[in-house]
């Protein structure tokens, strides 16, 4: 056997493509799990077909010895289980990339620099299954899927020169209750994949990350899971929702967990009913949330406006997906910003907030529930498909930092027959009686109304009450906006060559691009907005003043954040936007930064 060259690296990206429902995702998840067990930090990304069954799926996992900002770009290793998958998602490989393909299925046309490693994965897996069948007869074995994913896992781990022991242990745990035979088959499959790679490896260069020592344990979670757990930490009491990709997982998670925390969840007949239920439960005193995606958010517009006008706290987590209308339900986008900010007829106040990372999903859900309570209005929390399904290794959140805001109850002396629920105060915020409170009875209404809640339409009243409601947003801007505009300052003195303003799930990939720019001598500052409406104007203005030029990158067609900024701030900016269903990669953002810097 010739001697392999393992390339010691701190950063490896593995992409897996195959047919949906054929184990590609489970192979990816297993690989991610193993990399985590080696002490590495991981970030994953997956895209599904919108087809019910069939269609190409892609799973990408990136592992680093240290914080990992994005799911990576060019893959070091591509595992291709189908020809379609290979053609659709097999582009963008590292220069010395490796293609591990199922030679039972197809053979890729060779490309220079690349190592194409063919392996009859299907027949190898079938052989293991047949071996088990020979050992133990029966229906159960016959119906088992052949362990293609485990063969692949063995091969993959060997390619990156990782030990097999943790995988063996994991397989034993995972399949333990299915019986000893099945464990045996899978362990054999693991080794069969591994051995095959060892045979083929020759002098090929393969990447190898040194296992790391972990001092504190990490969790591996997705954005959707973190939103759900943040909502629980934030005191959620009621959830009403309607299934929709890619938001359903939040509801499914909470269906299981919320009742354990004393809360209730209803699957409503549609999104309108879901939001109406939220309005009712919030009025009744609960902290409430729903999760949806674009089509559902569209249906909620009328009631978002109502809740703004009637001053009812609630949170809508909008997990953005690709395309207008039904569009591309399993792809990603940041295209709902405009609808979230402007989507009410006439005007009532509401807040738009965006989660920027898997970790932030937890905190953003808590912040959103708190903002809703504090300012008594709807909060739209933006996530997106890429963020929602992205898995990261993270330290367990610091629970001592969790603060929750409780509803402002009226003082005893204010209660009585003329309780002024909509009292016109200096902050705009007025106390809200919860049904059951003696002397707190009032009628919540979407009609223009006086302080008591009685309908009224004079110009004077309209002006006074609209000022009252919108004053709450001014209070927010004064009191809290600074907390929600995160600045990554540039290194060095003077103005930054390039300032980046962005929101949402692009934070990580932008950090990566910015660090690369800094490394190449372009000083780069980055303002990442969690609060999008009302905008933290003072913070934006200060940031703009600290940069020579401003780049606003976002994943939508018309440049919605750029428009929002221009509408509200005196700003010159360079908009970079596209909306093709896939996330940014660091390289293209770096290119944008470099191009802008060179124009300075």
């Amino acid at each position: 056997m010739a001697v392999r060259t393992t390339e010691l690296t701190t950063d490896v990206t593995i992409r897996l493509v195959g047919e949906s429902g054929e184990g590609t995702i489970s192979l990816g998840e297993l690989a991610a799990r193993m990399l985590t067990m080696l002490g590495l930090e991981i970030c994953t990304f997956q895209t599904f077909p919108a087809e019910i069954k069939g269609g190409t799926v892609m799973f990408q996992v990136r592992a680093r010895a240290g914080a990992v900002y994005s799911e990576g770009d060019a893959a070091n290793i591509l595992v291709a289980l189908t020809e379609d998958g290979y053609h659709l998602m097999g582009g963008n490989l590292a220069e010395d990339g490796i293609v591990l393909y199922d030679s039972d299925v197809f053979t890729p046309t060779p490309a220079p620099g690349r190592w194409d490693l063919g392996m009859p994965i299907t027949s190898m897996a079938k052989a293991e299954k047949d071996a088990l069948k020979a050992e133990m007869e029966g229906e159960q074995v016959a119906r088992l899927p052949a362990p293609k994913n485990i063969v692949g896992l063995g091969a993959l781990l060997t390619l990156i020169d990782a030990p097999l022991t943790p995988a063996e242990q994991y397989i034993t745990d995972l399949f333990g209750r299915k019986g000893e035979g099945i464990v045996r088959m899978n362990i054999r499959a693991l080794h069969s994949g591994a051995n095959r790679v060892k045979q083929e490896i020759g002098t090929h260069r393969t990447p190898h990350i040194k296992p790391q020592e972990r001092t504190t344990p990490v969790i591996t979670v997705s954005g959707n899971q973190m939103v759900a757990m943040g909502a629980l930490a934030g005191g959620l009491g009621f959830f009403g929702g309607y299934p929709i990709t890619p938001a359903t997982e939040i509801m499914e998670f909470l269906a299981k967990e919320l009742p354990r925390f004393g809360g209730d969840l209803i699957q409503a007949e549609d999104e309108i009913a879901a939001l109406a239920m939220l309005c009712g439960a919030s009025y009744a005193g609960k902290k409430v949330m729903t999760s949806t995606s674009g089509p559902g958010l569209s249906l909620m517009v009328e009631l978002i406006n109502f809740a703004g006008q009637a001053e009812i706290p609630l949170v809508i987590c909008d997990v953005q997906r690709g395309g207008a209308s039904t569009g591309m339900p399993t792809k990603t986008s940041q295209g709902d910003l405009n609808l979230a900010v402007y989507g009410v007829h006439n005007e009532s106040p509401h807040i738009v907030f965006a989660a920027s990372s898997v970790e932030d999903c937890f905190w953003a859900a808590i912040d959103a529930l708190n903002l809703a309570e504090t300012y008594q209005c709807p909060v739209i929390l933006l996530s997106d498909q890429a963020l929602a399904t992205r898995k990261n290794t993270l330290p367990t959140p610091d629970f001592s930092a969790v603060k929750t805001v409780e509803r402002i109850k009226p003082a005893a002396e204010d209660l009585g027959p003329n309780f002024r629920r909509y009292l016109d105060t200096a902050t705009g915020i007025s106390a809200m009686a919860i049904p059951g409170t003696t002397g707190g009875a009032y009628t919540a209404t979407g009609i223009e109304h006086d302080e008591i809640g009685n309908p009224g339409y004079t110009p004077q009243l309209a002006k006074k009450m609209k000022n009252k409601r919108f004053r709450k947003l001014e209070t927010l801007q004064k009191d809290q906006a600074a907390d929600f505009a995160h600045v990554y300052p540039h290194k060095g003195e003077g103005l930054a060559d390039v300032g980046i303003i962005a929101f949402g799930s692009t934070e990580g990939v932008l950090r990566e691009a910015a660090e690369r720019a800094e490394a190449e001598g372009i000083s780069t500052a980055h303002l990442h907005l969690r609060l999008l409406s009302p905008l933290p104007l003072a913070q934006i203005e200060a940031f703009v003043a600290s940069c020579k030029t401003i780049l606003v990158p976002e994943l939508n067609y018309t440049g919605q954040l750029a428009g929002l900024l221009r509408a509200n701030v005196d700003i010159k900016l360079h908009a970079y936007h596209k909306d093709e269903g896939v996330p940014f990669v660091a390289r293209e953002l770096f290119d944008q930064i470099r191009a802008l810097a060179s124009q300075n």
């Binding site: 009491g237 004393g262 109406a276 027959p417 059951g436 009875a441 009628t443 919540a444 209404t445």
Partner: protein, 297 residues
Amino acid sequence: MTTAPVTFTVKSYKSDLKPIWCPGCGDYGVLSALYKAMANCQLDPDKTVVVSGIGCSSRLPGFVSSYGFHGVHGRALPIATGIKASRPDLKVIVVGGDGDGYSIGGGHLPHAARRNLDMTYLIMNNNTYGLTKGQVSPTSMLPLISKNPKIDPKRWRTTPYGMVEDHLDPLALAIAADMSFVARGFSYRPNQLTEILTQALQHKGFALIDTFSPCPTMNQDQTDEFYKEKTFDVPEDHDPTNKGAAFSLATHPTGYPIGVIYKHLGKPSMQDEGWVLHERLAAEPPATVEGLFKKYL
């Protein structure tokens, strides 16, 4: 009827806001029957929420001194569902019009029946859109006997050549959806309406009361005289727990029965199940988010 000591009287439920309905509007009668039924049941105004949509009839919550929720057009039921599901200790009464409840909001009805929460839904059915000034509603009726619109079709403001759509039958739909209490009232029979509403408020589960409430301003066809002529009392021997019989009565070919039409006693309620669940889970060690995260280590 309750035998508890009388703490609340009709006056306890009257708010300071004066109803703004037209003179002769049927909704006045409904409101006063509701006050009386609430007093019969000794509902605590501070623990009662009256929920509505948009329409003339939907202004009702403002006229009751309890907690109120005047929502948007057609969404009173899911709003009420949110209140009741999250706060079972509150009494929830839902009110509104035929347009609000059977047209734009009609999709929510079968699901309220499925959940069977303890709520009373009182529809003031004037067979037209009052507030928007007299358009056809899903219950706008052709002269009874002939349902054929070719015969003397009613000309509403949006059907100037006559109605071309059949009207729907709320009671039949309610029974088909298996609502656990289905009744019809008439605002010009105040005592009977009070009695029906009292029963409905005491019913365990979801109750629908479709109430004829004439709109003299916009609907000169279905006047109080029309209803007086065309309605009849539910026969003494009617068994409301017999679904088939209830369906026949509801779809009576020559008149409109007034009274309790259908009851599904003991129909499970989402709420029972919910509470059983909460009780069951309450026995488990208290859940914490910290604990949850352990799964993801």
